[in-house]
């Protein structure tokens, strides 16, 4: 009996091995064809929460829905040039106190009604009345006041006729057209935000390239082409699919379920390889294309000097501590090994694409700082951050630091940061407003929205405000740079590490993928190549 059992087990084992071998994929290297027709499918990393341009632009997962359904007056391309979308022209007067906007008369909302100048005014006033931290882009419009409490409404927005507006400023604002070139200031149909409550705020009617058709939580969000959009696409529909697992996203791309995915962190090395022609897809994804652009992104370690572990270090030694850590951390090696070159070493608090001059590497100080014996490094619980935190821990052992990495879900991590219950944390931030270093200075302006995470440095806010008024672009950039330099010299809150690029993988028939100056993806020009092309 025993012998029979052993023989039976052996037969089953051989069958299993044989079956596995026969099923093993052989020489399958090509990606499947597109999901077909004139439909474009894009992978989302998590569930969105709103398609309202204000609420949605606060949530990285909602952003794709916002830019699918809504459109701003203009966008800024990779060269820093304004690209008109809903507007036909935007011009700032020589004294910087007036901005004239001519609308495209052909622009239509989803419901077919024309986009009017009054809708633009309504949309801008709505942003100003919100609590959005970047509402400062409208702060210089006459009537805005210094904050909402003493605001009399944006009386400086003058509607000249259905398609023309003049915007009057209290102070010169020569970069105003750039500031409003984001989804935050998308044009919505006046009054639709106060209607019936609908899932994902889809009741707020927009004039974007697509209109919502079916939005299923946790599954897919289907949009249909907006015929009245100023840059009509050949794509009949856009499907945004929620695939939270990175492996499943890659598989979905391979299987033709999605046509475009963003490669983050370890996904880059899993889908692409570095060749003499740059980043190219591996054999499994042969035929796909890689699109990459520097992003307005900063990955850094933030230190809480008030924590019990670090509060013992004297203020004058903090710079030395940061310098010791900075010198020990091999940014270039990490950028090449982890991201295949799709990241840049950063030494200042502003990413290279948002400033005219990169901050030089810190040099080790002569002062030998008294380091804490050991401390915890919080890190967001995603594969990329975990890998980075692990590399930080390993590399900084040589400096005498003993670091314990603690992974946290995002809400837990933010909760701890809010309460100041941390010693140090790895973090990354992406900025969407094409406003150079201004959004980054909000971490160091004593009155800035995000100063709680950064460090208040006297005079930063006022200096930025002064620089914003300078009419000459070169002088303005230099003045901004002076503020950034001052912050870099004085701050001890951030240890900047890298600025990671936006890396997308797409099928060749998907065209018009537009990444703006900050590397933010917009669907404005998205189209699918047809047989006639």
């Amino acid at each position: 009996m025993m012998k029979r059992v052993i023989v039976l087990c052996l037969i089953v084992f051989v069958c299993v091995i044989g079956g596995v071998y026969s099923l093993w994929p052989k020489n399958r290297t090509d990606v499947e064809t597109s999901s077909g027709g004139q439909q474009i499918a894009i992978a989302l990393e998590d569930n969105p929460t709103s398609m309202d341009p204000i609420a949605g632009s606060l949530d990285v997962n909602s952003y794709p829905l916002v830019v699918a359904g809504h459109a701003p007056l203009s966008l800024v391309d990779g060269n820093g040039e304004l690209i008109m979308v809903i507007a036909e022209s935007i011009e700032v007067s020589d004294d910087g106190l007036r901005c004239d906007i001519a609308m495209n008369p052909g622009a239509r909302f989803w419901d077919g009604s024309p986009v009017n100048a009054a809708d633009v005014k309504y949309s801008f006033e709505r942003v100003w009345q919100s609590q959005h931290p970047h509402r400062w882009v409208l702060q210089r419009i006459r009537g805005a006041g210094t904050d909402q409490e003493n605001s009399t409404g944006l009386s400086g927005i003058e509607v000249l006729d259905d398609h023309h507006l003049a915007i009057h400023f209290d102070l010169p604002d020569p970069d105003f057209p750039f500031f409003i070139s984001t989804s935050l200031t998308s044009v919505i149909k006046a009054g639709t935000d106060s209607g019936k409550e609908m899932p994902l705020d889809q009741g707020i009617i927009g004039c974007g390239p697509f209109r919502p058709a079916s939005l299923t939580l946790g599954d897919e969000f289907v949009f249909i082409r907006n015929e009245g959009f100023t840059k009509p696409s050949r794509a009949e529909s856009l499907v945004l699919r929620v695939i939270d697992n990175p492996q499943q996203r890659l598989q979905a791309f391979h299987d033709g379920q999605v046509d475009l995915i963003r490669l983050r962190g370890p996904m880059i090395a899993e889908a692409a390889q570095l060749t003499k022609n740059g980043l190219e897809p591996i054999r499994r994804f042969q035929g796909a294309q890689i699109v990459r652009r520097p992003a307005n992104e900063l990955t850094f370690v933030v230190f809480n000097w008030k924590s019990s572990k670090l509060s013992t270090i004297p203020i004058e030694q903090r710079q030395a501590v940061l310098a010791a850590a900075s010198v020990a951390w091999p940014r270039q090696e990490i950028a090449e090994r982890f991201y295949l070159g799709a990241a840049r070493p950063v030494y200042g608090v502003v990413p290279p694409i948002a400033t005219v001059k990169t901050h030089p590497p810190l040099t080790a100080s002569d002062v030998s700082p008294s380091l804490p014996n050991s401390f915890s490094l919080l890190t967001p619980n995603d594969p990329d951050s975990r890998r980075l935190a692990s590399a930080i821990r390993t590399q900084l052992v040589n400096t005498g630091w003993s670091i314990k990495v603690q992974n946290r879900d995002l809400n837990q991590l933010v909760g701890q940061l809010l309460e100041g219950d941390y010693t140090a944390s790895v973090f990354w931030i992406e900025q969407a407003i094409p406003a150079g270093p201004i959004p980054w200075m909000m971490f160091f302006d004593p009155k800035g929205s995000f100063v709680k995470l950064g460090q208040p440095i006297e005079g930063v806010g006022a200096a930025i405000e002064q620089a914003r008024s300078i009419l000459d672009p070169t002088q303005r950039s230099l003045r901004y740079q002076a503020v950034v330099d001052k912050v870099n010299q004085e701050q001890t809150a951030f240890l900047p590490l890298l600025s990671r690029e936006v890396v997308l993988m797409k099928r060749p028939n998907i065209q018009g993928v537009f990444l703006d100056q900050n590397g933010v993806l917009y669907f404005t020009f998205l189209t699918v190549a047809g047989e006639d092309q």
Binding site: R28, T49, A55, L58, S130, L217, V414, G415, F450, K452
Partner: protein, 299 residues
């Protein structure tokens, strides 16, 4: 008598549901809320955080929010999800189909296979299982490894071996679904099979089995009689099996990417969507508690 028993059962279930919800609410009210989750690092801006809390309806006192939820629940209003503002009733309807499609074969397998299999495994009159049989039953014990591990192994088989090979064929969806069903059914199947084996073994120790044989009943006839007894004897396992099926559904849907109730629960947890989480936990608790009450009435 029956009415009294029914009323006390309902009261017991209601009490435990309230307790479960109170615990859930208390725990999650202490953690960072959905506003923090949605804003991410922007939650550092205090004014923005307060405005978002107000927009999501998570800004009032805790007792008020707890009471409002139950008041709405009693009126048949499940409320809206904090993630996207979907009516929860619509969300449940949309996701139940997927879970039911997984559960139907699972329940069918559990009803049809383990108990008859066990009854044929243990011969009438067989009290101790011999070595060879014990060896053969060893693979069944694999079903006792943690459910998430089973799901991970089967998903690895799917994504590592089969997905690429079957990609684009009509077999792909069927294979994926079959592996998912296996993933859900493994633990409850094993529990039920082993319990049934134990039951039949102890039945064999009873005199009536010998009596049946002496009366000239065939082994098949004895097995059929024992099987009926086995069904009744294994009823106390119902709540445990329901719970293992529920956890299996969660892990499987999450790994295999099925957009059912299990995945919805995990997404709600990740998004700190307390409203949706409470409704889903209450439904799950209701099913388990009701099954448990059913056991209580028959034991």
């Amino acid at each position: 008598m029956l009415l009294r028993r029914f009323t006390s059962g309902v009261a017991r279930v209601a009490f435990f549901l309230l307790l479960v919800d109170l615990l859930l609410f208390a725990i999650f009210d202490l953690l960072p809320d959905a506003a923090v989750r949605q804003l991410g690092i922007m939650a550092i801006d205090h004014q923005l955080l307060e405005a978002t809390r107000e927009r999501l309806g998570v800004d009032g006192p805790a007792y008020e929010r707890f009471a409002t939820f139950w008041w709405h629940l009693m009126q048949g209003n499940l409320g809206r999800s904090l993630q996207g503002g979907y009516p929860i009733s619509d969300v449940l309807v949309g996701h139940t189909t997927v879970t039911v499609a997984l559960l139907v074969p699972v329940v069918t397998i559990l009803l049809v296979i383990p108990i008859p299999l066990a009854s044929f495994w243990i011969r009438p009159g067989e009290v101790a299982v011999n070595k060879a049989k014990r060896l053969l039953v060893l693979p069944v014990y694999l079903g006792l490894i943690p459910q998430f591990l089973v799901a991970v192994i089967l998903f690895a088989i799917w994504s590592g071996l089969l997905a690429d090979y079957l990609s684009g064929t009509s077999l792909a969806a069927t294979t994926r679904w079959t592996l998912a069903v296996l993933s859900v059914v493994s633990m409850p199947f094993t529990l039920l099979f082993l319990a049934a084996v134990e039951t039949f073994q102890s039945a064999n120790r009873q005199r009536f089995t010998t009596t049946y044989r002496m009366l000239g009943m065939s082994r098949f006839q004895v097995r059929c009689r024992l099987m009926r007894n086995g069904w009744l004897a294994l009823r106390p396992l119902a709540a445990r099996l329901t719970l293992t099926c529920a956890t299996g559904i969660i892990f499987t849907e999450l790994l295999f990417g099925f957009n059912g109730l299990g995945r919805l629960l995990v997404n709600a947890l990740r998004a700190s969507d307390l409203n949706l989480m409470r409704v889903l936990i209450l439904i799950m608790s209701l099913v388990v508690l009701t099954t448990s009450e059913f056991e209580r009435r028959h034991t």
